[in-house]
């Protein structure tokens, strides 16, 4: 496992596209120390490796297929209703290429 330190936490928050205050990183570092210790303890629980990772409480079986036809369609205007920046029927963001 990667070593958890302040540079790693700063990098992680940068990848998640938000900044945190310095004291928040320190709180988080303390939380990580506790969490890693507890997860190490869990790793020592007898027989743990005999269990498959549980993704959902129950199996979700789907035994029906719908026709491949549009059922409910959003109008373009509706889809854009909540966007803060639009232009000519599209979401407008900063230039990506060139």
């Amino acid at each position: 496992m990667k070593k958890v330190d302040l540079p790693l936490l700063r990098d992680a928050s940068a990848r998640l596209l938000f900044l945190m205050k310095e004291e928040e990183y320190l709180t988080l570092l303390e939380e990580f120390k506790i969490l890693v210790k507890q997860m190490e303890k869990i790793g020592k629980i007898e027989g743990l490796e005999d269990y498959e990772p549980m993704t959902f409480p129950f199996d979700v079986a789907i035994d029906e297929l719908r026709e491949d036809e549009p059922a409910e369609v959003l109008a373009r205007e509706e889809a854009l209703e909540n966007a803060g920046s639009t232009y000519m029927g599209q979401i407008k963001i900063a230039k990506v290429v060139g």
């Binding site: 496992m1 990667k2 958890v4 936490l9 992680a12 928050s13 990848r15 998640l16 596209l17 938000f18 900044l19 945190m20 205050k21 928040e24 709180t27 988080l28 303390e30 939380e31 990580f32 506790i34 969490l35 210790k37 507890q38 997860m39 190490e40 303890k41 869990i42 790793g43 629980i45 027989g47 743990l48 490796e49 269990y51 498959e52 990772p53 549980m54 993704t55 959902f56 409480p57 129950f58 979700v60 789907i62 719908r66 959003l74 509706e78 889809a79 209703e81 909540n82 966007a83 803060g84 920046s85 979401i91 963001i93 900063a94 990506v96």
Partner: protein
């Protein structure tokens, strides 16, 4: 007793006999909502509620004319819904959540949206963008009502409406219900559609709700349950007549108490009340068994929950970027715009949780964090099922005691109290039906007890809970209708 303090069945009866009208119910509910001093509301939808009243027509649904509140993470078409987070400011859903739609079709009238921990990721009612939500049982406002469904719990304890929705990923309905003297229900995973509920951790998320009467809880599940083509995880199992289970007969029913949970609690009054309840249950023909869960597994619950829930949340909430919805910030690049939106939009707790989740999902960390947590969840659920095989229901305290003071701490990870106050997550790990309800009072503050059963045993759950309600005498509780109880 005011009409708003009655059960839904009694309100319906009063409506049918002409002793009240939907308009009168609505006016009284709005009047009480406006008196709230616990920061329970994101919005009071007075105009929309009167419009809904006019549109009721001859609707004869089971909730005809009954006012209700919804947690701010259920989509309500055209109404700003933000999950108490600045990242969603201004967001107006384009469709109703299935829960919202079903309640509308049943004739219920939505009168407001309630505050919550931001994006449902908290258990204290301290992290929402409008500030702390207070416990109505403490006029000094020093005590929390719990979270994340904090506003729904507070408003229900103020008896604003007879029911309110909530969501429960760890214990976010049942623990606040305990701290506020209410009935809190989390049915089986898949029993109620989650379509339109803002996701937190889908493998653990459940729709839940608050009532003040067990009979109301049974009635509501009949309205809300059922398969939904919009939610592939919703169950096809038929909806039962849950009210038919409320016959008071518990002869031969077995309740399993878990000793290592009880030993982690320091509140003597709570344990005494639990003992007295057990004695009364035995007098009515029930059997009480006392078992051990395994301390190492119980102590592992919180870390397991944090890793799984944060990992799922990090992934789910990647779409909260200020581009498609929420406040838009200008930037030279699109990621600068997103960074500005996410930095300003998320609270401190949310950011910390996202970093934990993201770290747990990194390839080099997965084995010892995410997959280990998922394996442990499987082991915990296997043990849970062994205990459920010994009886009809687990009988567990619903919280570690009365509502704690805010000063006692927020949602920071801690090495202390690993079992107490984290044990209700068992029901989420297993997707099991679970209910909490008032047990007794300690210095004017409510204590709660919970039941957890095998999947889809909601009818049995309401049967057992109604007998407990009868024993405690704590029906229809609120700060306007205080009772001491029998235990």
């Amino acid at each position: 007793m005011d009409i708003l303090d009655l059960s839904i069945r009694e309100m319906r009866q009063a409506l049918e006999e002409g002793r009240t009208t939907p308009k009168e119910l609505l006016e009284k509910a709005l009047e009480r909502a406006k008196k709230d001093d616990c920061n329970a509301f994101e919005s009071i939808l007075e105009k929309e509620a009167y419009e809904a009243l006019e549109g009721l027509g001859k609707n004869s649904g089971p909730l005809y004319g009954i006012p209700y509140l919804t947690k701010d993470n259920f989509s309500v078409k055209g109404i700003e819904t933000v999950a108490s987070s600045n990242i969603l400011k201004g967001y107006r859903p384009l469709y109703d959540a299935t829960v919202t739609r079903k309640l509308k079709e049943a004739g219920a009238i939505l009168i407001g949206q309630t505050t919550m921990d931001e994006l449902a990721m908290g258990g204290t009612g301290m992290s929402g963008h409008l500030g702390y939500t207070y416990n109505p049982y403490d006029p000094s406002h020093k005590r929390m009502v719990g979270g994340s469904s904090s506003g729904s719990a507070a408003a229900m304890a103020e008896a604003v409406v007879p029911f309110a929705t909530g969501s429960d990923t760890g214990d976010s309905v049942r623990r606040p219900a305990s701290l506020a003297g209410l009935v809190g229900v989390k049915p089986t995973w898949g029993r109620i559609s989650r379509y339109g509920l803002f996701p937190f951790a889908p493998s653990l998320d459940h729709v839940g709700y608050f009532t003040r009467y067990v009979e109301d809880a049974a009635l509501l599940l009949g309205v809300l349950a059922g398969h939904d083509p919009h939610d592939m995880t919703s169950s096809h199992r038929p909806i039962e007549d849950y009210a038919a289970y409320l016959d008071g007969n518990i002869k031969g029913k077995t309740f399993v108490r878990i000793l290592d949970i009880e030993e982690s609690l320091s509140d003597k009054r709570l344990l005494e009340a639990l003992d007295r309840l057990s004695e009364e249950l035995i007098k009515r023909g029930a059997v009480i068994k006392k078992e051990r869960f395994g301390k190492d597994l119980l102590e592992s619950l919180y870390a397991t929950y944090i890793v799984i829930s944060c990992a799922e949340a990090t992934s789910n909430d990647a779409n909260l970027d200020g581009i498609k919805f929420g406040p838009y910030y200008e930037g030279k690049t699109y990621d600068e715009a997103m960074r500005k939106a996410r930095t300003a939009g998320f609270g401190e707790l949310i950011k910390r949780r996202f970093v934990i989740g993201s770290f747990a999902l990194m390839k080099e960390n997965q084995d010892v964090l995410f997959l280990r947590a998922q394996r442990n969840r499987a082991k915990v659920v296997a043990r849970l099922n062994e205990l459920l095989a010994l009886g009809d229901a687990l009988l567990i305290p619903a919280a570690s005691g009365v509502a704690p003071e805010f000063e006692a701490g927020g949602d920071k990870l801690s090495d202390e109290y690993l079992i107490a106050d984290n044990h209700l997550v068992l029901g989420n790990f297993g997707g099991l039906p679970s209910i909490s309800l008032p047990l007794a009072f300690e210095n004017g503050l409510p204590l709660g007890v919970s039941l957890t059963l095998a999947p889809f045993k909601e009818g049995e759950m309401f049967r057992l809970a109604s007998v407990i309600e009868d024993i405690t005498g704590l029906r229809g509780l609120s700060v306007l209708n205080r009772k001491e109880g029998n235990l």
